[in-house]
């Protein structure tokens, strides 16, 4: 245990550690323990942090150590749905499904050690995959613990029309509206071929346009990014397949309309981004509209455009922590919503 913690036992949450300035820490092994811990923190006005393993105390925060709440509950091989406990990290989860010949899609190194629960709480946008979506997409069911101490339930299905998608309350809202405790995620057959294509363009916006054309033509790389290379901008793409598309790289180059670049460098990039050991934590910085990528990238050194969409793209940069996003006009609503959730309990 890291220094500074004192062990305790509490009637509501069981064993916990505390430290000065209202720091607390509890290990949760069961969904219901998350619910209890959330209620406990809410009663005391503590922030909740989702962590794995010991950390130095954080003032006025409850560290929820979710390491014990990990593992693969079940895999539905027919529907290709993995039922995972939300304390599992993405790297662990991928390894668990890989053992069954399945994949969650690419897991960038920067998210590898993040628990699923934390990614949902953050609204994690660090895996913008054209083929596999964001990490928080592809959810067939999400069970959550509420700060009122109870657990929700949900049928497992690809889509529904039974009112608002209430489980989206926990996506991006920190722990204020609850935390995911287990999730049913779409998984896929592991690719039999993975190649990297590299295509050069005259600038950021040309690269973005090339990517947009590829999307329009139905190409869905497992991952891609645009990065500066000298005066050019290079579009790199991870093309995963089942062997039915032997000319994947050539087709990608043709469709995007740029110049093919040497792949060796691309491979090194790929290793750096997708290898958990080598990767830094990359965070999204700013969303640029279509045609505005060059302007957004100007003056930002070392950025890469990761989330290339028809309508825009997002620039990413390395850093230790998520950038402090500005609270928008909806922040007051978030607060009121969290308050209302608690008030009902009262």
């Amino acid at each position: 245990m890291t220094d500074g913690w004192t062990p305790h036992h509490d009637g509501a949450v069981g064993d916990l550690w505390t430290a000065p300035q209202g720091a607390a820490r509890v290990e949760v092994a069961e969904p219901v323990a998350v619910a209890r811990a959330l209620a406990w923190a809410a009663d005391r006005g503590l922030q909740v942090q989702v962590v794995r393993g010991p950390r130095a105390p954080t003032p006025r925060a409850l560290q929820l150590d979710v390491a014990p709440l990990s593992g693969l509950v079940a895999v539905d091989e027919i529907s290709r749905v993995a039922h995972l406990r939300a304390g599992t990290t993405w790297a662990e989860a991928e390894a668990l499904v890989a053992a069954r010949g399945l994949t969650l899609g690419p897991v960038p190194g920067c998210v590898a050690d993040t628990p699923i629960m934390a990614s949902f709480a953050q609204g994690d946008r660090r895996r913008p995959s054209p083929a596999y979506g964001h990490l928080t997409d592809g959810v067939l069911a999400l069970r959550a613990a509420l700060p009122t101490g109870v657990l929700t339930r949900s049928a497992v299905a690809p889509r529904r029309a039974t009112g608002p998608d209430l489980a989206r309350c926990v996506v991006g809202a920190g722990a204020a509206l609850g935390l995911a405790v287990d999730v049913h995620l779409q998984v896929w057959a592991r690719p039999t071929t993975t190649v990297v294509a590299a295509v050069r363009f005259g600038g950021w916006d040309a690269a973005h346009d090339g990517a947009a054309v590829a999307l329009g033509e139905g190409l869905r790389p497992a991952w891609w990014c645009a990065r500066r290379r000298g005066r050019a901008v290079e579009l790199l793409a991870g093309l995963w397949g089942d062997g039915t598309e032997p000319d994947a790289v050539r087709r990608f180059v043709e469709v995007t309309g740029g110049d093919e670049a040497p792949p060796e460098d691309a491979q090194a990039w790929r290793d750096a981004r997708l290898d958990p050991a080598a990767a830094e934590a990359w965070w999204p910085q700013v969303v640029a509209p279509r045609g505005g990528l060059a302007a957004a990238a100007k003056g930002r050194r070392g950025v890469e455009a990761w989330d290339l969409r028809q309508a825009g793209a997002t620039l990413y940069a390395p850093g230790a922590a998520a950038p402090p996003f500005e609270r928008d006009a909806w922040a007051a609503s978030s607060d009121r919503l969290a308050h209302a959730l608690r008030a009902e309990e009262a």
Binding site: D76, I78, S79, R80, V81, L140, L146, V150, L151, T152, R153, S154, A155, V156, A157, P158, R159, R160, A161, T162, G163, P164, D165, L166, A167, R168, C169, V170, V171, G172, A173, G174, G178, W188, A189, G216, E217, G218, T244, V286, V287, P289, R290, R309, Q310, A311, G312, F325, E326, D328, A329, W330, S333, S334, L337, A338, A340, L341, A343, E344
Partner: protein, 516 residues
């Protein structure tokens, strides 16, 4: 109704006398949507609950004014698109004001480069799609009700179109929303690709069925008109074989626009099964009655036969079991040539492996050309003194067969039931059940109707399925909503407290009110 008069005067002052109506024909027309139960109630002579007034604000600011006026007096507001909802969602059961959104119908922005449009909520679906088509674009959203529903209604009910496996459901197309909330504020949700914190507001307002606010506009993703289409049709040995093809395509990452599998009876009814002559006499009669063109006028005899066939559902459903198990699978791939060719080729491989007998392009082309015809049959059935309704549920591929068979068994004693599988995803699929029945009179029909619904939803829930895939919950599924959501209901209540503190937005929909 002193307060009502004052409210109406205030509404008139804000939106103009032509846009507030309190006369009987309007209050009657807006006392229901297309929930078939309302039709049965009407036939049974039950007086509907009529709204106090119908209001047509002309822009978001006027919507906000209406909301403030009603909120101040605690008068319910029922947002109303085109009233094509089939769950009673737009029915003013608590009286109050029906707020018709359809004067808000501007196509505010079309941006083909970004692949986005901004459109107001009252735009009729077909008119939107035609305008997009005129510019070489498509939204890709083709519900069978596209001719009679609005963008706002789609969003409010999580609608699905017939090409959903390529373009997604409406919730998958949303970039952001403009909504008027209970405080009378006009607010725009953060874009789906924005990076700020907070819950996923778009997905909380989408599907809210008028209970959290009035959707006044939305930014939606659009696509170029497809360059190519490939049609496929197969007679599969049974429905499980058909499901294997659909699943294989979706799990391979392909996105065919249409994957549609009819069960044995539905296959028989659409007439694509060359072996169907083996089908039972009652079923042949039924098919004859319903598919003899649309001009074959009504007759007492035809009506009596239809009532006899639907009046003994147990026998008729038993006849279905004697039908050959073979099922029609229709596919349409669209997009750019390479993608279409690859996806269609995979479907051919999958269908061959699963024992499908190829039927060529015919069934797919016929379906595309006549896909709205089936909706016209509804009138014939009601005119004969019978009823018909549909309900759609969804689950994972693994649970689909048990769900299908379970629901068929459960509703079979009450009504004739058939189904098709459509709206496929990598993880699962929806089942669209159509059921038809009758009774000695309208009251008896309503009893049978209720029994069929209850049996269907109970069974779906027992199988762990979601009880609605795209029609919404409204009133028809309200009794099953607590079990569907469990403690997640608290999120809904908190959303209500946050965005509708006066409790005026479509009260009693989705969930029964506390104490009700």
């Amino acid at each position: 109704m002193e307060d009502g008069t004052l409210l109406v005067e205030a509404l008139v002052a804000r939106v103009g006398p032509d846009h507030v109506r309190t006369d009987a024909p309007d209050r009657d027309a807006y006392s229901r949507d297309l929930w078939p139960r309302s039709q049965l109630e009407r036939l049974a002579g039950d007086p509907p609950t009529r709204p106090l007034a119908v209001v047509w604000p002309g822009d978001p600011a006027e919507v906000a004014e209406v909301v403030r006026l009603c909120a101040a007096r605690g008068v319910p507001i029922v947002p109303f698109g085109a009233g094509s909802g089939v769950c009673g969602g737009a029915r003013p059961d608590r009286g109050g004001v029906v707020l018709d959104v359809k004067r808000l119908k501007a196509l505010r922005r079309v941006d083909p480069v970004a692949g986005e449009i901004e459109v107001e909520a009252g735009m009729m679906g077909e008119l939107l799609e035609r305008r997009l088509e005129h510019r070489g674009l498509t939204l890709g959203h083709f519900p069978s009700s596209i001719v009679c529903s609005t963008v706002g209604g789609w969003l409010a009910g999580r609608s699905a179109g017939q090409c959903s496996s390529r373009y997604g459901k409406i919730e998958d197309m949303v970039v952001d929303l403009e909504v008027v909330t209970g405080d009378g504020a006009i607010r725009r949700t953060p874009r789906a690709d924005a990076l700020g914190p907070g819950p996923d507001w778009n997905q909380l307002f989408v599907g809210s069925e008028g209970t959290l606010g009035v959707i006044t506009a939305a930014t939606l993703r659009v696509h170029p008109q497809p360059a190519e289409r490939a049609f496929g049709g197969w007679l599969m040995p049974d429905y499980r074989a058909g499901l294997a093809v659909m699943r294989g395509a979706m799990q391979a990452g392909d996105r065919p626009a249409v994957l549609r599998l009819y069960d044995a009876l539905d296959t028989f009814m659409v007439g694509a099964n060359p072996h169907a002559a083996e089908g039972g006499g009652a079923l042949s009669r039924l098919k004859g009655l319903l598919s003899a063109g649309h001009d074959g006028g009504p007759s007492r005899l035809k009506h009596a036969v239809l009532r006899a066939v639907l009046g003994s559902p147990a026998l008729t459903n038993a006849a279905v079991r004697a039908l050959p198990a073979r099922c029609l699978l229709i596919t349409v791939c669209e997009g750019e040539a390479d993608e279409v060719a690859a996806a269609h080729a995979r479907l051919e491989r999958l269908a061959a492996t699963a024992g499908g007998q190829p039927l060529g392009e015919g069934p797919g082309r016929t379906w595309l050309a006549h896909r709205h015809d089936v909706s016209f049959k509804q009138s014939k059935i009601y005119e004969a003194g019978c009823f018909v309704d549909t309900f759609e549920v969804a689950t994972t591929w693994a649970r689909l067969p048990a769900l299908y068979e379970g629901v068929r068994r459960a509703v079979g004693p009450h009504v004739l039931v058939m189904a098709h599988f459509s709206h496929a995803y990598p993880g699962g699929c929806s089942i669209y059940f159509t059921f038809a029945g009758t009774g000695a009179d309208a009251v008896a029909m309503r009893r049978t109707y209720d029994a069929a619904w209850r049996a269907g939803l109970d069974t779906a829930q027992a199988h762990g399925a979601v009880i609605a895939h795209h029609h919404g919950a409204g009133l028809s599924r309200r009794a099953h909503m607590p079990a569907a959501h469990g403690e997640a209901r608290r999120w809904f209540d908190a959303l209500k407290a946050t965005f509708d503190p006066a409790g005026i937005f479509n009260p009693g929909k989705l969930f029964a009110e506390e104490g009700a």
